[in-house]
């Protein structure tokens, strides 16, 4: 094992020795620089591997041959080694990114870079307070030098501002160090901690020391100086500044706070949280990519600072959590900065240029997922463990603020991603070259590797190692194949997985599994109509299905949550593919994350920090916590089912998605929320909070969703939006059913799971097929398509009959169970809304079929053909199923009924032959079907007997009060179809919820706009901010001590 001191020696020695090589042979100089950095990185990695595998112990390195505290000593443990590896690798890659500038400037620049990397490494290793000061100053000076490598002349101003603040930091730090020395008689960190001395002023000295180190972390709002560096410096350097310097500075705070004592932790937490939330809020209004990354960086540093402040409760998980966050941030931020070197434009919209290169999009997605803490990246595991620990310690406000910050960060990061995917790409906005791309992908590889490592640590559940997620990775690799081939593989994968697992599921889970997995495969049939390679579709779709598959497999809270997040991420990418879906995908993502955070908090509350916690132990949660767990989980799940109030993401997201995506996200994805509700209610049962039965609240929400969803649906002009609102309504029914907490209510919800999947998928495919032909989704622009698209018409007709509950199709079964279910329930009032929702549902469905297929055919549509075969095929499968399911509901429901009976301990339905009898009524689907069919055929025969020779006339062969209307094709009645309804009940259409969320968004954005005026650009003002910050924290801290 080589000594880690060599990292310092090599960096420094090479920096000095470059002068001996002469200043003209610049390529040689650069080569030597790279070799030195590579050697430093290699040493770090050797140590990292050795320490991680337990091959060696934490190394204590003494300088000058004397033991500490009398000489400076260095330490390399696992944390140090990981940071060293990060620092040196970032340095190496940054050198490559900066190659043009370094080659121009010659040895001076290279020497400065080497010294910078050396100094950051030293900062990580050293255990001596004053030595920390020396290294900090080295880093500061080197930073001021490397800032100048930018072609941007504004960098000079930024560098000066930075120096001014460095001076203030140096002053505070030195005063702090010397008085700490005076109080403790030692400069060695471990020594200070080991021998507590209660000298007067020691606390104040420690305060000065800590606050100086904290300012080094660029806390909001005293960070204008740092942001200017991010904005103007060369991105290659910004990567170091953010990833390496930032991580090292955090580690220094961590080192120093250990001896300082736990009483400082709340202060760090406070500063960290303020910084995290504040920076992210300000970033919302940022449109310069690098400055945005800057805000994000200081935010992330704040987050980790807050985590450092929680080290007292994190215990053994501390390194895992803080490390996960730090490394995620370092890799992602460095990668993003390097990527920004490839982009020519500096606006966020200019990132649309990366769309031309799929791997770049993958890279961008990877980095953003890492920053937000989504699986399978370390930040995700860290977030989970952090939440567990915080809740176990009762620090819910801290968790709340952290999650709020993450949500805001996700808002601007995913908005940015949306820009990249959807905005118009600037011409030649990309100056890609092998080296820059290579560096970026090194970061991507690093990110995935970290994800694997974090999952593989014993005691964790490795998301990446599960079969479905591996399949997703495989589909990323398969991207170059043609879409049709990939589609075959995708269907095979889904069916294969189902064949693998279906035997293990109870009937209820099995129903969900059938809907989600083979159900997904049926919808994928429609994807055969796509040509080309369809880049991005399959990994996203498979990620969603992987999430769903894992959701059903989940045994522990963590597995459930991880699956949930995988599903969310995949579906977000899927939804974003739609033509106009940018804002909707964003709101989908934000609501989903918000909901996921509610789940996270709920799970954490329930487990009390015990990991892993089995899902079926949820019921063991203590009585006073149970209602809160219930509330949090229910909010999380209802976000997914788009219950009223949390629904505004759904219409846009479902309506603007691609033709075959809409049925996936509507027919399948919504069921995940229902599944969650089932799992929750099965374990928790009824809960009351302040005397209110929470299931009653759920029932009310369900009823309101069912009603308002239907009302809003009838006013839509866009066919897919109509269906989307209808989903809100349908999920409301299901939610109501679940919330009834009786056997039949649950059976009702299960029936909705099946039915809604079938008819909503079918209708979305049908409308999608129409859209493919007419290129419009606005119903009043269509009409009379029945003869041109007969199959599509049939599927819509069947869908509508089924959905509105009219006998004889399967929707009626749902209604029948519903009535029997409510006979048992004491809930009366919400029923009124449900009763109203039923007929209103009939209205919008009629409108759908009428305005598209009946009425006047529009001139531009005269030559239309039936929808593509691959779109029609699944519809026909669905239609056949609906009819079969209507006649034989028992084939799916009987076993579920038995299973639910085993939960509630009753058996209200008696399945006798083909008839079903309940305590109150009876239902014989076969008889209904036969009677209706016979009557229908009989009447039909009478009519044929009389009118078989009816003259077929053109559609415009109509008269109106004995006159033929002039240009009848212009008189199709479709716009504002239910005008009387709008007149009578239009008030329900007032977008109250949308206004509410809009107000929230505007408020946050307004706060961001207001706050960022704070950054005047004046270096002196920034210095004053720093001083003000110090004084403010001083007053608060001393107040806290006193």
């Amino acid at each position: 094992m080589v000594s880690p001191v060599l990292i310092i020696a090599i960096g420094l020695g090479t920096a000095f020795a470059l002068g001996l090589l002469g200043s003209t042979r610049k390529t040689l100089l650069f080569g030597v620089t790279l070799a030195a950095l590579a050697a430093m990185a290699t040493i770090s990695l050797i140590w990292l591997v050795a320490l991680a595998t337990g091959a060696t112990e934490t190394a204590e390195i003494h300088t000058a041959g004397v033991a500490p505290p009398f000489a400076i000593n260095l330490r390399v443990g696992i944390a140090e080694a990981a940071l060293l590896a990060t620092v040196t690798l970032t340095g190496l890659l940054a050198a490559l990114s900066l190659r043009a500038q370094l080659l121009t400037l010659g040895r001076g620049g290279m020497a400065v870079l080497l010294v910078l990397v050396m100094a950051i490494s030293g900062l990580v290793m050293t255990r001596d307070l004053f030595n920390i000061f020396v290294f900090i100053e080295l880093v500061a000076i080197a930073t001021a030098g490397l800032v100048l490598l930018s072609e941007d002349t504004r960098a000079v101003c930024a560098g000066f501002k930075f120096l001014v603040v460095s001076q203030i930091i140096a002053i505070l730090l030195l005063v702090g160090i010397i008085f700490t020395y005076h109080a403790n008689g030692s400069l060695n960190i471990d020594d200070i901690g080991a021998t507590p001395v209660a000298a007067q002023g020691a606390a104040l000295a420690m305060f000065l020391l800590l606050i100086a180190l904290v300012i080094e972390l660029k806390p909001f709002p005293a960070n204008g100086w740092a942001l200017d560096i991010y904005t103007s410096a060369h991105p290659g350097f910004s990567a170091i500044f953010s990833a390496a310097t930032g991580s090292a500075a955090l580690f220094v705070v961590d080192k120093v706070v250990a001896p300082a004592g736990a009483e400082w932790l709340p202060l760090l937490t406070g500063i960290g949280l303020l910084s995290f939330v504040g920076s992210n809020v300000v970033a919302l209004r940022q449109d310069n990519d690098r400055r945005l990354l800057g805000y994000s960086s200081v935010g992330q540093l704040g987050l980790v600072l807050a985590v450092i402040g929680q080290r007292d409760v994190l215990g053994d998980a501390y390194l895992y959590v803080a490390g996960g966050l730090v490394l995620s941030h370092a890799v992602a931020k460095a990668g993003l900065f390097w990527m920004s070197a490839i982009l020519r434009g500096r606006k966020l919209q200019d990132w649309a240029a990366i769309r031309a290169r799929a791997p770049m999009v993958l890279a961008f997605a990877t980095f953003i997922a890492m920053l937000v803490g989504l699986p399978p990246f370390p930040g995700f595991y860290a977030k989970w463990d952090l939440a567990q620990a915080l809740v176990a310690a009762g620090r819910l406000p801290v968790l709340g603020l952290i999650l709020l910050g993450v949500l805001i960060e996700a808002a601007y990061l995913f908005r940015w991603f949306g820009f990249a995917i959807k905005r118009e790409a600037p011409e030649s906005g990309l100056s890609a070259n092998m080296v820059d791309c290579g560096i970026t992908f090194a970061a991507v590889a690093g990110g995935w590797a970290l994800g694997w490592i974090w999952g593989a640590i014993p005691g964790q559940h490795n998301v990446l190692a599960t079969l479905p997620v591996l399949a997703v990775v495989a589909f990323i690799a398969l991207e170059p194949l043609p879409a049709k081939l990939k589609n075959v593989l995708a269907i095979a994968a889904l069916l294969g997985w189902f064949a693998l697992v279906y035997g293990d599921y109870d009937p209820m889970r099995l129903i969900f599994a059938v809907v989600m997995i083979p159900g997904g495969a049926v919808i994928l049939l429609a994807s055969f109509s796509e040509t080309g390679r369809r880049i991005g579709f399959y990994p996203s779709a498979m990620a969603m299905y992987a999430g769903l598959a894992l959701l059903l497999e989940a045994n522990t809270f963590f597995e459930f949550f991880a699956a949930w997040e995988v599903m969310t991420l995949g579906s977000y990418f899927l939804i974003l593919r739609g033509r106009m879906s940018e804002p909707h995908a964003l709101s989908y993502m934000l609501f989903s994350l918000g909901g996921a955070f509610a789940l996270l908090a709920g799970f954490a509350l329930a487990s009390g920090g015990v990991q892993p916690f089995a899902l079926d132990q949820l019921g063991t949660v203590t009585a006073e916590l149970a209602p809160w767990v219930f509330v949090l989980l229910a909010i999380g799940f209802m976000t997914k089912t788009a219950a009223m109030g949390l629904h505004i993401w759904l219409p846009g997201a479902h309506a603007e998605a691609e033709t075959d995506v809409s049925p996936m996200v509507s027919g399948i994805l919504l069921k995940a929320g229902l599944f969650g509700l089932f799992v929750m209610l099965m374990q928790l049962g009824r809960q009351s909070l302040w005397g209110v039965d929470l299931t009653v609240v759920l029932a009310w929400i369900g009823a309101i969703s069912a009603f308002l969803g239907a009302v809003l649906s009838i006013f839509q002009e866009d066919a897919k939006r109509l269906l989307a609102y209808s989903s809100i309504s349908q999920m409301g029914y299901a939610l109501f059913g679940v919330a009834l907490m009786n056997h039949l209510g649950w059976l009702l919800a299960m029936m909705f799971v099946i039915n809604h999947y079938v008819y909503k998928s079918m209708l979305f495919l049908a409308v999608g097929g129409v859209y493919k032909r007419t290129h419009t989704k606005l119903m009043y622009q269509m009409g009379g398509l029945i003869t041109l698209m007969p199959f599509t018409f049939v599927s819509v007709l069947v869908g509508i009959i089924a959905m509105s509950g009219v006998p004889p199709l399967s929707g009626f079964g749902g209604r029948w169970i519903f009535y029997n279910a409510i006979m048992d329930a004491d809930l009366r009032l919400p029923l009124i809304l449900i009763f109203m929702a039923g007929p209103i549902g009939f209205l919008y469905l009629f409108r759908l079929i009428h305005t598209i297929f009946l009425g006047q055919l529009k001139d531009p549509h005269r030559q239309l053909k039936e929808a593509p075969f691959w779109l029609v095929l699944p519809q026909m499968i669905f239609a056949a199923f609906l009819i079969a399911f209507a006649v034989l509901p028992g084939m799916a429901l009987q076993r579920v009924d038995g299973y639910i009976g085993s939960i509630f301990g009753d058996q209200p339905l008696i399945w006798q032959g083909r008839a079903i009898t309940s305590e109150f009524g009876y239902w014989n689907p076969v008889a209904i079907m036969v009677v209706i069919a016979v009557v229908f055929v009989a009447v039909f025969l009478i009519l044929i007997a009389k009118n078989h020779d009816a003259q077929k006339v053109k559609q415009f062969n109509i008269v109106f009060s004995a006159e033929r209307p002039y240009r009848p094709e212009t008189t199709h009645f479709a716009w504002n179809f239910f005008a009387p309804y709008r007149k009578a009940m239009g008030i329900l259409e007032t977008p109250v919820v949308t206004s509410f969320w809009g107000g929230v968004t505007d408020g946050v954005n307004g706060a961001a706009e207001f706050t960022r005026r704070f950054y005047t650009g004046n270096g002196q003002t920034y210095a004053a901010h720093v001083l003000l910050f110090v004084v403010a924290v001083y007053l608060i801290a001393m107040g806290g001590v006193a």
Binding site: R828, F846, K952
Partner: protein, 301 residues
């Protein structure tokens, strides 16, 4: 209850009786209304004449499949409704096919014909038919609401959804009728009853004085004949439901004839003396008056 072949002729016989009763009764009611207005009115056999005439018409056109099927849906809806509801309590043969389903089936099957009719008229391409359909649907959804609530109320009251059992519970005296045991539910239901029989003030959809809109103007010949057939049996089918669940049902055909006639007269009488509502006024009316009564009904049970 299971199926036996004998039930088929039984059901057909019931249908036949109801059809003739309907043809005559609607004419009588119309005549009464005319007399109130000081006009002589139609002869009581006028409906037969119309039916025969329409069946005999030779000029017939078709706008397409759905147009063709519209009346079929419509009449199937009417006949089906009769078949799914027991007509005479206690009668062995007037039970029809009520074993197929209970009250809920009847309630939802009402929409079957409406849907088919609307679709058929829609395909005719006449813009005004769509206006008529949209008005009719808009109104009926609001009007049916009190009925749904009332049904729920009495289903809870009798703890059953089976029509036969509901009727059975009302036997043994006038005061066992739902009308007296649960007057609020009945009041609510009557809002729906009046609202859906297409009589003034809720008849803007088919009123002859309006612009001629809606399905009846689109059809002719045998199509119209089928629809006319339905026009006479459908209100009766619906009235049978009301009679069964609110007014003690009927134990024999005479009782049946009287009860149906009296019930049918309620909207007729109201219609004669009330001016017409526009659709949004109707909707507001039902929400403002019918709905609260319905709510009261389910709260009082």
């Amino acid at each position: 209850m299971t199926f036996e072949w004998i039930q088929v002729p039984y059901a057909l016989a019931t249908l036949f009786i109801i059809l003739n009763y309907g043809l005559l009764m609607t004419a009588v009611v119309q005549k009464l209304a005319a007399r109130v207005g000081g006009r002589p009115g139609i002869p009581v056999w006028q409906n037969y004449i119309d039916l025969v005439k329409n069946f005999a018409l030779r000029s017939k056109i078709s706008h397409g499949v759905m147009y063709y099927l519209g009346p079929v849906f419509r009449l199937s809806g009417g006949i089906g409704l009769i078949f799914f509801v027991p007509t005479i309590y206690g009668s062995t043969w007037a039970q029809n096919f009520s074993f197929a389903g209970d009250l809920i089936l009847a309630l939802y099957f009402i929409f079957f014909g409406t849907l088919g009719m609307a679709l058929g008229a829609g395909e005719s391409g006449h813009p005004h038919s769509a206006i008529g359909v949209s008005r009719g649907l808009a109104q009926v959804t609001a009007a049916e609401l009190p009925m749904a609530l009332a049904v729920y109320a009495i289903a809870i009251q009798y703890q059953t959804l089976s029509i036969t059992e509901i009727v059975a519970a009302q036997q043994g005296g006038l005061f066992n009728w739902t009308l007296f045991t649960n007057p609020i539910a009945v009041a609510a239901a009557m809002f729906a009853y009046v609202g859906t029989t297409m009589r003034s003030p809720f008849d803007v959809v088919i009123a002859p004085q309006e612009i001629p809109i809606g399905p009846p103007t689109e059809y002719h010949s045998a199509y119209l004949a089928l629809m006319q057939t339905n026009r006479v049996i459908f209100p009766i089918a619906k009235t049978i439901i009301y009679m069964n669940i609110f007014f003690g049902g009927a134990t024999n055909w005479a009782e049946f004839a009287i009860k149906v006639f009296l019930l049918y007269m309620i909207p007729a009488v109201i219609g004669v003396v009330h001016p017409r509502f526009r659709v949004e006024q109707s909707i507001r009316f039902f929400l403002k008056w019918g709905l609260p009564v319905g709510v009261l009904a389910i709260l009082m049970v």
